[in-house]
């Protein structure tokens, strides 16, 4: 039986490989979208039949025009709608009647213009569902497929791009034309070029699944303005990467919109959506890029060259300064300089002048012509320690730039190690760069971009294999009891749930709760303290008090019955002064923890990615250094550990400068359990553990304080 994914993929076939196309609403007016789309299709020499549908024209550009699409006597695979938005639904209805299964709606004037447009878009979706049609757009530039079997330029881009192995998907149509122009100048080719606009039906997720099996595509690039289904996107990306090994690079704009939904707590205030998006992309294996140049710098590294086996590179330059700069950039990007073998050193010594530097970075000296570069590159490729070669060139009067470029291209052909280049300068090196780009040799204006691109390819392939993380079954979870506790909490309609009840719930999920009890009298507090052992902490318990410390409702390090009783009085009088109307249910008596590291853990619910777990070092670190990390729940053991490893806190927790190593395993376990709790209880909007006391290695950790906020309705 075919699953939904297969059905969806089947539907996208005619969209990219149609045998016949109808442009509905086209006209004779040059310079208008309805006209130019038809012209693009004809100019690209589409390998199928083209039908023009125009209410008034009998023919356009020598092609017979039909008044309505239903008048076309033959079957049509793909319809391209270019009518104004007011009548798109009529055209789409006719497409449905005609049995057309794939439609691109170029027209704007839908969801992007407000409520009235949204209604029109819903109307389109209804019609598409009624006739089981796949629909790209509306409000898009169109679709390009450079496969010579098809040659489809169903867009109003100025030119059909070169054929290549990069697929580019974009939510923004205007950006597409800019990208096409940028790519054309650098001879970057595309397999598919898809502007999906308002994604009324086909989304980036559907397209990812389609491209997973597209033989023409090796690298997937995407520009996104909104992540409407973050969980779906992560799942699709993970599946595409795991099954096809194709890297996915995404620019997600709107980085600075963080903090808009900041909640009233520590955890919440740090939980900007963009940080979560960053974390989620990383977790899914997506490479997030900040701008178009970075994206294409990395894309050509993936598309043009074999992946490197290691971080060890050879740098070959004709100038000392740029060699040093490249070395710095390489080391800063986490790369290493390869150590040449004796054989390589001898080859270089023989071939290069005495003044040349035969160690890595190799300096072939400013007067080098192509022969020196060729010898050095070949020797580097043959060296077993070298995984990739960087060629740097500066234009001296005697540098035969074009010959060097051509020779690099021929050496690289069939080579199993990657070669990247940086011809530094602008005008003099232009023709050499053009030659490199034509021959698909990655070129970078700056050594820094070259090094970060190499590192991106290396890390992607290195992590490709162990990317498949399985979720471990967590033991000691009392699901039924947890449900009962949550129902009880919910029954009285509160959203803020204080420490005692939050801890009760967390205990059912095997989280490390402290020894302690609620006391309603001073004597009871003393009895509890003696039972759990001194020193203890007393904390006010009240539904009305969120910040206990601010209300002076916490007393630490109480070592005797007298100190407990005195603290009891102080807390009551402090709280009465700070918040006279607060109802005090009692004081929570817990064991005082010393000699630990304080961290914070939290749950946050993101509108795109769902439940998210946060980790960070406690105290001032969390606020000042924003040293926090996020992970989309549920989390595997590896993912939870990675959350810790990517913070600066990791070094502290591992033990440094005389500090004991702390119990990392207990944090990993707590992260996984919190993630599971967040998944199982969608009503938890926020949950903070602040602090979690992490004891020395092997001794576990203990929750110091916790609270949660529930959504009113589930």
């Amino acid at each position: 039986m075919k699953n939904l994914l297969q059905l969806r993929q089947k539907n996208l076939g005619p969209l990219f490989h149609p045998k016949s196309v109808a442009i509905i609403g086209t006209n004779r007016v040059k310079g208008t979208v309805p006209h130019d789309i038809l012209e693009s299709i004809l100019k690209a020499e589409f390998n199928g039949i083209v039908y023009a549908v125009s209410p008034r024209e009998k023919s356009i550009k020598g092609i017979k025009a039909y008044k309505y699409v239903i008048d076309v006597p033959d079957d049509i695979d793909l319809a391209i709608l270019v009518f104004p938005s007011s009548v798109c639904h009529m055209a789409l209805e006719q497409c449905g009647q005609k049995g057309i299964k794939s439609v691109i709606i170029i027209s704007a004037g839908f969801r992007e213009v407000g409520e009235a447009g949204l209604e029109k878009e819903k109307q389109l979706i209804d019609i598409a569902r009624k006739y089981d049609m796949s629909l790209i757009g509306p409000n898009c530039l169109g679709v390009i497929n450079t496969d010579p079997e098809t040659n489809l330029n169903a867009s109003f881009a100025r030119e059909m791009p070169e054929r290549g192995s990069i697929a580019f998907l974009s939510q923004s149509g205007a950006l597409c034309t800019a990208v096409l122009d940028y790519a054309r100048a650098k001879h970057i080719g595309f397999s598919k070029f898809i502007s999906f606009g308002n994604k009324a039906d086909i989304s980036e997720i559907d397209l990812l699944y389609y491209l997973m099996d597209d033989d023409e595509t090796k690298v997937i690039l995407m520009y996104l303005e909104e992540v409407s289904d973050g969980v779906g996107l992560m799942k699709a990306a993970q599946e595409v990467i795991e099954k096809s090994g194709k890297p996915i690079l995404i620019i997600k704009s709107g980085r600075t919109n963080e903090g808009a939904s900041a909640a009233a707590s520590h955890t919440g205030s740090l939980t900007g959506k963009d940080e979560i998006c960053d974390a989620a992309f990383k977790q899914a294996g997506i490479i997030r890029c900040d701008h178009i140049e970075e994206m294409f710098n990395k894309a050509i590294a993936f598309a043009y060259q074999p992946p490197p086996e290691s971080q060890k590179v050879a740098i070959i330059t004709n100038a000392g300064g740029p060699g040093v700069l490249t070395t710095d950039a390489a080391i800063s990007s986490g790369l290493k300089l390869a150590k040449f073998s004796e054989e390589t050193t001898q080859i270089l010594k023989k071939a290069l002048p005495a003044t040349a530097n035969i160690n890595n970075p190799v300096d072939v000296i400013g007067d080098a012509r192509s022969d020196r570069y060729v010898t050095a590159i070949k020797a580097a490729f043959d060296d077993p320690d070298v995984a990739g070669v960087f060629v740097i060139l500066t234009p001296q009067s005697m540098t035969d730039i074009d010959t060097i470029a051509t020779d690099i291209a021929s050496i690289a052909e069939g080579e199993t190690k990657p070669i990247y280049t940086s011809f530094m300068g602008e005008k003099d090196v232009a023709s050499g760069i053009d030659l490199l780009q034509k021959h698909k040799i990655p070129h970078y204006s700056l050594p820094e971009s070259m090094c970060t691109s190499y590192a991106a390819v290396y890390h992607f392939h290195k992590h490709l294999q162990p990317k498949v993380h399985r979720l471990a079954a967590l033991e000691n979870i009392e699901g039924e009891l947890a449900r009962k506790l949550m129902d009880k909490v919910h029954s009285n309609g509160r959203s803020y749930i204080p420490e005692v009840e939050t801890i009760e719930l967390m205990q059912t999920y095997g989280l490390p709760v402290p020894s302690g009890k609620l006391a309603t009298t001073p004597d009871e507090a003393v009895n509890i303290a003696e039972e759990i052992g001194y020193p203890v902490v007393l904390k006010v318990v009240s539904n009305d008090i969120i910040h206990k410390s601010e209300a002076k409702g916490v007393e630490l390090n109480l070592g005797s019955a007298k100190e407990v009783k005195d603290a009891w009085e102080r807390i009551h009088s402090n709280v009465k002064l700070a918040m006279p109307d607060a109802f005090i249910a009692g004081l929570y008596v817990i064991r005082m923890i010393t000699g630990s590291e304080e961290i914070i853990l939290g749950i946050k619910r993101d509108p795109s990615f769902g439940p998210v777990v946060m980790f960070g070092l406690g105290g001032i670190f969390v606020e000042i250094f924003r040293d926090v990390s996020f992970g989309v729940a549920p989390l595997s053991r590896e993912e939870a550990l990675h959350m810790i490893e990517q913070t600066r806190a990791f070094k502290i927790l591992k033990g440094t400068r005389g500090r004991n190593p702390r119990d990392l395993d207990s944090i990993v376990d707590a992260i996984m359990r919190l993630g599971q709790l967040a998944v199982d209880f969608p009503e938890i909007d926020e949950l903070d553990i602040n602090p979690l006391f992490v004891l020395d290695e092997g001794k576990g950790s203990i929750i110091g304080d916790a609270r949660m906020i529930l959504t009113k309705t589930v």
């Binding site: 006209n27 208008t32 125009s54 209410p55 008034r56 104004p84 009548v87 009529m90």
Partner: protein, 79 residues
């Protein structure tokens, strides 16, 4: 004015502005989808109706008119 008279005169205006044979125009013809009007011609149609019936129409509402029927009903409120 009778609606039948409005209808006849509306069709004449549409035929003249869009250069469409009047035999192709039906009561429910959509100016864009059936008769191929572009955005400039939509404005010319409104101007044509105003001149034909010697009326001044609310421009925003007038541009929302999509069919011959719509136009007849809209104009009948003015004459």
């Amino acid at each position: 004015m009778e609606k039948t008279e409005i209808l006849t005169r509306v069709k004449e205006v549409v035929s003249s502005v869009l250069k469409v044979d009047s035999s192709e125009i039906t009561d429910d013809s959509n100016f864009i989808f059936d008769l191929g009007a572009d955005s400039m011609q939509s404005i010319e149609l409104v101007a044509g109706f105003e001149e034909e019936f010697d009326i001044e129409m609310d421009q925003d509402k007038a541009l929302e008119i999509q069919t011959i029927d719509d136009a007849v009903n809209f104009i009948s409120e003015y004459v």
